[in-house]
């Protein structure tokens, strides 16, 4: 495979991105979104799951769960570069939906060579939504860190934590450990023994839960990765997962930039639009600079995943690191530069601020990625001299 100078971002990718932009402008404008998810400011809101299922059906009609599924399994088999373009638009509109969860699960399943995985991918291509249940109580998703066990007969017990959009999906892709290693299992959300316990979270555009599994028997055809095969599949998919999160952050950060710049062009203080003042202008430029760095690394990572597998992990961690840093900076400045109004519930910026804080820490914040990169690029500690 050669490395395409244009990242492999082709016309089809462009059409997918443009379509998404238009659909979400029409059906998930900031006004619509605020009305939907911020109708209540009560604390009880934090554990609710609010989303626009009609919009989700439109997204399914456009085949968005199928984009990353191989053609042989009924999908469109598009590259991660095209997916990145789509997810940028999801982030820009801060859409509440199970799309990101499903895309992440798609890449995990696609890294598993099993009949169960192939069946699951066919279902995803047909519109099934899936979320990963692979994080432990301490927030770790390393292969060995897991609070769910699988018996030799495939019966799951334990709790999976920090499951994204758990109440929007039909199936959970559960990581469980057994004496033979880590396996992956498809479990229906309404299966016997499965209890989805909502978390109360700050982000209004998502839901999150921990999932208790009590004697959940998984039939053989729903084993996605056999015990011992799960860790490799998760590692293979991780660059795609990180890239998808980076895309959401880059898209959201661009919304934060454009919205704040528009405010700076129109809000007048001291007889000037506040963008006149360098204390406003220069942070806006720094937002742009950080976004552009993250965006270039985003497409670099996606292109590497598609064309240079050996570079995929390094590029993806760089993209997630830069995107998390950009998200953090842009979130802070979007509130600060809006002044008092930016600090209110009624102002739209709070929605993106909270989504970004959530994105920043999912699957490792910027510093986590850099620590892993250091092991790759400088050698592990004690081995560098």
């Amino acid at each position: 495979m050669t490395r395409p100078h244009d990242f492999g971002f082709d016309e089809t990718a462009q059409i997918l991105k443009d379509t998404a932009r238009r659909l979400l402008q029409d059906h998930c404008s900031p006004e619509q979104l605020h009305r939907l998810v911020a109708a209540s400011s009560e604390p009880a809101r934090a554990s609710e799951c609010v989303w626009d299922e009609a919009l989700w059906r439109r997204m399914l009609d456009l085949g968005w769960t199928a984009v990353a599924v191989p053609e042989a399994l009924g999908g469109f088999g598009m590259g991660l570069v095209a997916i990145a373009g789509l997810v940028e638009e999801i982030g820009r509109a801060a859409v509440p939906s199970p799309l990101i969860a499903t895309l992440c699960a798609t890449y995990v399943a696609a890294a598993c060579d099993s009949d169960g995985a192939r069946k699951l991918l066919r279902q995803i291509a047909s519109g099934l939504s899936v979320s990963l249940a692979i994080i432990d109580r301490r927030g770790s998703w390393e292969a060995g860190d897991c609070d769910v066990t699988a018996s030799d007969a495939g019966v799951l017990n334990g709790t999976a934590w920090f499951v994204q959009d758990a109440r929007k999906v039909g199936v959970l892709l559960v990581k469980a450990r057994s004496s033979r290693g880590v396996g992956l299992y498809a479990v229906d959300v309404d299966a016997a023994g499965v209890t989805i316990v909502p978390d109360a979270i700050v982000d209004l555009t998502r839901d999150q839960a921990h999932v208790e599994l009590r004697d959940v028997a998984v039939p053989a055809e729903r084993i996605i990765a056999l015990p011992g095969d799960g860790a490799r599949a998760l590692a293979a998919a991780e660059p795609a997962i990180l890239t998808i999160l980076a895309a959401d952050m880059v898209g959201a950060a661009e919304w934060q930039l454009q919205t704040t710049a528009e405010y700076a062009r129109t809000r007048v203080q001291f007889e000037r639009p506040i963008g006149f003042f360098q204390a406003v202008k220069h942070p806006l430029v720094d937002m742009m600079v950080k976004i552009d760095a993250a965006r270039s690394l985003l497409y670099d990572a996606a292109s590497a995943f598609d064309h240079e597998p050996d570079a995929a992990e390094v590029c993806a961690r760089m993209a997630k690191s830069a995107a998390s840093d950009a998200a953090s900076y842009c979130s802070g400045r979007s509130v600060q530069l809006h002044g008092g109004i930016g600090f209110t519930w009624e102002c739209f910026v709070q929605l993106w601020f909270k989504r970004q804080k959530h994105n920043e820490v999912l699957f490792g914040d910027a510093a986590h990625q850099r620590a892993r990169l250091a092991d790759r690029l400088l050698g592990r500690i004690g081995e560098t001299a």
Binding site: V202, Q336, G340, K357
Partner: protein, 411 residues
């Protein structure tokens, strides 16, 4: 050369001993209900009552307003309030609820009020019998305070006020508001007049509406005046001098005024605002995990936590040095940094705490699994209140550059 002597005056030494002794036996018991994190967060009548009772007790013991003249209800001492503050903090005493009154209204009244105004207003303010709120900000006058549009029109009985104030903390509990109005539309800075307005929220010309913060909490209000009457004896200083009076208020709000504001360490027990300090980071880091180990073992986080501990100590030592004339060059240089450095320290501390928490920072304070009760992500959002309000930090930097370094005005 002998060992350097302590520089406290005999009066100060006696006063410090008094504070210590009184505080040793008179801190209020911890209430059964949750205390707010600070005066801006007071939400219920029972919280207010508890805190007002505490302020009144401290006032009666001479720990509040001790540097104010005794004829107005003060303690008649000199340079002693900082000692009381120090001892209050050391004792972990709860905060005083009448923050706008103590920090802003009282010194302004002392400097600009008539004899009658001082006699009427100061004692109940110090004793927390009357709560104060501030009516400066407006939707179109945030950082640009001189753009105030709320208009006070002269009539036979005094004044009639029409306008819209925002970010009014404690408005629904307040007896009084310090109110900056325009009285001449033809002039900017010279067209403003300063009042103390009674808050008779009986529906006649005065409407108080809560503003919801990005956290979902209340605490701020909008106050709408519609032909609201104020008698002329409630005007502070002369007509057209409102800007100068407001500058006195802001100078004290920023900690740079001559009268030290009575204050304390925060709250009591687990709700203590001190747990939002850098020491709280250390505790948090020992309980949270990163790469399978306590976050307090992560060298990068250790570095960042220590940096916050250093900044926190520097803030406290700035306060200490500000009182030592030989070690301060410009009298406003340290005081005018107070709000800027404190608000950024709180913001950066809270952001670091969220980083320490990792993915658990996604959890809301109502989630039972949220580390430290979810206070850190919440505090991080609330920190923008501090970096924006009372003159955004951008404006603070202008003020420092212009008033201390003598640079050309940016406006």
């Amino acid at each position: 050369m002998t060992e350097s002597a302590h520089s406290e005056s005999p009066e100060q030494v006696v006063y410090r001993a008094h504070c210590k002794a009184w505080l040793a036996g008179n801190l209020p018991p911890r209430p059964s209900f949750r205390l707010p994190l600070g005066p801006l967060e007071i939400a219920t009548e029972e919280q207010l009552e508890y805190l007002c009772a505490w302020q009144k007790a401290a006032y009666s013991a001479g720990l509040v307003g001790c540097d104010y003249p005794s004829e107005y209800g003060g303690g008649g001492l000199r340079d002693c309030q900082w000692i009381a503050n120090h001892e209050l903090k050391a004792a972990g005493a709860p905060f005083f609820p009448n923050i706008v009154g103590l920090g802003m209204a009282a010194p302004t009244i002392v400097h600009h009020g008539t004899e009658a105004q001082k006699r009427r207003l100061l004692r109940p303010l110090l004793a927390a019998e009357e709560i104060w709120c501030q009516g400066f900000s407006e939707p179109g006058a945030g950082s640009d305070l001189a753009n105030v549009q709320t208009f006070a029109e002269r009539d036979a009985e005094g004044w009639r006020v029409c306008g819209h104030k925002v970010w009014t903390t404690l408005a629904h509990f307040a007896t009084w508001m310090i109110l900056l109005c325009r009285t001449d539309r033809g002039r900017k800075h010279e067209g403003m007049t300063y009042f103390v307005a009674p808050m008779h929220a009986d529906g006649k010309g005065l409407t108080i509406r809560p503003l919801v913060k990005m956290t979902g909490e209340l605490g701020f209000n909008e106050v709408l005046f519609d032909d609201y009457p104020i008698t002329d004896d409630l005007r502070l200083d002369e007509v057209g001098r409102g800007w100068q009076v407001a500058m006195t208020t802001l100078l004290h709000e920023r900690g740079a005024g001559s009268l030290v504001t009575p204050s304390s360490g925060g709250g009591v027990g687990d709700d203590n605002a001190a747990t939002l300090g850098a020491a709280g980071l250390v505790e948090l880091a020992k309980r949270c995990h990163r790469a399978g180990k306590p976050a307090s073992d992560d060298p990068r986080l250790r570095d960042a936590i220590v940096e916050m501990l250093i900044r926190e100590r520097a803030f406290a030592q700035n306060e200490r040095r500000a009182t030592v004339r030989a070690l301060t060059d410009h009298p406003l240089r340290l005081p005018l940094q107070h709000k800027l450095t404190l608000s950024e320290l709180l913001q950066d501390t809270a952001r670091l705490a969220c980083e320490i928490e990792g993915v658990a920072a996604t959890l809301h304070q109502t989630d039972p699994h949220a580390p430290a009760g979810g206070r850190w992500p919440h505090a991080y959002m609330n920190s923008y209140g501090f970096t924006i309000a009372a003159g955004s930090n951008e404006v603070q930097r202008n003020i420092l550059g212009e008033r201390v370094l003598g640079l050309a005005k940016s406006k």
